[in-house]
């Protein structure tokens, strides 16, 4: 980066229409407050990150930007910036997400075997229908509300992370893997993760944000809308705005009770999205098909609509893990209470911190990117071997006999044969005897 380039870039930033507000976050100020609690990076690194964010803003059309945190990895670390584009300036993703599907195990192989069998008897067709794919949320809503950029070190180019899909979040909940630091590294796991490390990183960032981004109560309020909560998706409100009449509470109050803090990021449902999506809303074609076939017992018409806690719920509603509360609140110092800062550490996501001091607050994450669990991680077991054919009157599937059973059967058969031969011999002998007579 030559000096000329820097000058040109700073000239660009000065041309921004909004003089007072630039999207550039004041990283040094945030670092100062977190330092009071012993959290943060060194001053040099914070400043480098500050400059790297400035470079990011000058290159991309960004409306708001925030230093989200740092995730450690095996070979390299990730510095993550949370960004919102200007409305309407978002780049359309020309390439479809490069989702690397891990080799199709399970049903695909079974179907191949079916086809390889002799064609004399047509084997019954597989009746397997893969579960419906739940679509990802639109950019700008739900789990994809923010766009994330990562770089390995301040100074390296920023890479945009792809939006997150519900399947990735659901799978990320089941695995626990270290990050290597290379975005294109494969994630080898079971259940197989649909994507590479960039997708896994994005999924973990989404989970951490949903679980630990908090603000003092009253800072954000719901925008004044005409209707009430009755919306089609039943998701409730999902937008908020800053409250111009925010009255900050004292540090002591912020620390004493957890109900003075609220989540300002929507929580992610079990489905993997923030707003419930019913995959069984059938189109007309599908309804016709179903009228012809019999209704299968497996089809759950009424999938329970999942609801999560609405936006801006206070932290006192957060469940702890076993007997550990979800958050630990401390003032930064007990000795000088008039200059103390209220600091919260998350116990569910170790490494997530938040501070509040007067009107200023911020969240940050420094850690390895995993959730805390008091029990050890147990990987999911592979599913049981599936039957090749459904049990019908013509075809049933039973277990193969074991060696002992086969031997026993053989012995019994031979014994029966021997007994039959003996009887015949006796009869022959009797006949001979009769003839002799």
């Amino acid at each position: 980066m030559s000096a000329k380039h820097f000058e040109r870039m700073s000239a660009l930033t000065l041309d921004l229409p909004s003089q007072g507000e630039t999207p550039l976050p004041n990283v040094m100020e945030t670092a100062f407050y977190f330092e009071q609690a012993g959290i943060g990076l060194s001053k040099d690194e914070s400043y480098h990150i500050f400059l790297a964010l400035k470079k990011l803003i000058s290159v991309q059309p960004i409306q708001t930007c925030r230093f989200w945190g740092k995730i450690l990895g095996l070979e390299m670390n990730y510095i993550i910036a949370e960004v919102q584009y200007h409305e309407g300036e978002e780049e359309e993703e020309t390439e479809e997400e490069e989702v690397i599907e891990e080799g199709g195990k399970g049903m695909d192989e079974v179907e191949d075997e079916d086809e390889e069998k002799e064609k004399e008897d047509e084997p019954p067709k597989s009746t397997y229908k893969p579960p419906p794919v739940i679509p990802k949320e639109e950019n700008g809503t739900g789990a994809n509300k923010y766009v994330y950029f990562v770089c390995n070190e301040p100074g390296k180019p920023w890479v945009k992370l792809p939006p997150v899909t519900p399947a990735q979040i659901v799978c990320a909940r089941k695995i626990k893997k270290f990050f290597t630091g290379r975005l294109d590294a494969p994630v080898v796991s079971f259940p197989p993760f649909p994507g590479n490390e960039a997708n896994y990183l994005r999924a973990q960032i989404a989970r951490i944000s949903a679980g630990t981004q908090i603000s003092p109560i009253g800072f954000y309020q719901f925008a004044e809308e005409e209707g009430d909560e009755e919306e089609e998706g039943g998701g409730g409100r999902d937008t908020y705005e800053e409250n111009p009449d925010f009255q900050p509470l004292s540090v002591a109050e912020m620390v004493d009770s957890l109900s003075t803090w609220v989540h300002h990021v929507q929580s992610i449902l079990k489905q993997g999205r923030c707003i419930w999506f019913n995959p069984f809303q059938k189109s007309e074609e599908q309804e016709e098909e179903e009228d012809e076939e019999e209704e299968k017992a497996e089809e759950p018409d009424e999938l329970q609509q999942e609801t999560g806690p609405p936006l801006l719920t206070p932290l006192s509603e957060d469940e702890g893990i076993q007997n550990i509360p979800a958050w630990t609140a401390q003032p930064s110092t007990n000795l000088i209470p008039q200059h103390a800062v209220a600091v919260l550490q998350s116990n569910r996501w170790p490494g997530a911190y938040a501070f509040a001091s007067g009107k200023k607050f911020d969240n940050i994450y420094f850690g390895w990117g995993h959730k805390y669990s008091p029990e050890n991680y147990t990987p999911a077991l592979p599913p049981p071997v599936q039957a090749e054919y459904p049990s019908e009157p013509e075809i049933t599937e039973t277990r193969d006999p074991t060696l002992e059973e086969e031997l026993a059967f053989k012995a019994a058969k031979e014994a029966a044969l021997a007994a039959a031969e003996e009887e015949e011999d006796e009869e022959d002998v009797e006949e001979d005897e009769e003839e002799d007579d």
Binding site: L74, N77, K176, K177, F178, Q322, I324, P350, Y377
Partner: protein, 184 residues
């Protein structure tokens, strides 16, 4: 004491006098303790001391050459230690565990012939199980090498190559990362 405290799981409370109920011991120990008139409880300060000892023993490391062993057997600091070179600093074999060596006697004679008995009298990090339980990174533009342990998440060791500066520190929750093999 360490063996007993190892069985306690979960986060530390923050209160040194907090008593843990010690529920996972053999029946014999329980009977013995009850006969003594004491209930099976462990204080957090005991657990804290045991955890510190465990961490030091398992992942306390020093660069090669920082300590020397005299022919008489005593070990002390090497005042002539000038630091590792940059190339050496990136290799795991240049760092040793600062505890009684366990693997040294298992080396073949050929390997032992290459060792320098004054500096190579400890276990190196290369043969740690599971392999890859240390991450080596260069920070600050390549002037500082930082090793992080994955077994005890939060243990960080730093060394500035070509200088005498090195050290390790632990910031964490005091729990061993037993999921390490799944996470690699």
């Amino acid at each position: 004491m360490v063996a007993q405290a190892e069985q306690l799981k979960g986060r530390f409370q923050g209160d040194p006098s907090f008593e843990y109920e010690y529920t996972e011991i053999n029946a014999e120990d329980a009977e013995r303790l009850i006969e003594d008139g004491k209930e099976p409880m462990i204080k957090e300060e005991v657990r804290l001391v045991a955890t510190i000892e465990q961490i030091d023993r398992a992942v306390g490391i020093i660069p090669r050459g920082a300590f020397v062993k005299t022919p008489l057997g005593s070990v002390h600091e090497n005042r002539n230690f000038e630091g590792l070179s940059v190339m050496e600093a990136k290799k795991l074999s240049s760092y040793f565990h600062f505890t009684e060596p366990v693997n040294l006697k298992n080396k073949t004679l050929l390997e032992k012939a290459d060792l320098d008995p004054s500096t190579d009298f400890l276990d190196s990090l290369e043969h740690d199980i599971p392999q890859g339980s240390w991450t080596v990174q260069l920070e600050k533009g390549g002037t500082v090498v930082v090793l992080r342990s994955l077994l005890w998440l939060g243990l960080t060791f730093y060394h500035v190559p070509m200088t005498k500066q090195y050290g390790y520190i632990y910031f964490g929750s005091g729990e061993k990362n037993l999921d390490l093999p799944f996470m690699m």
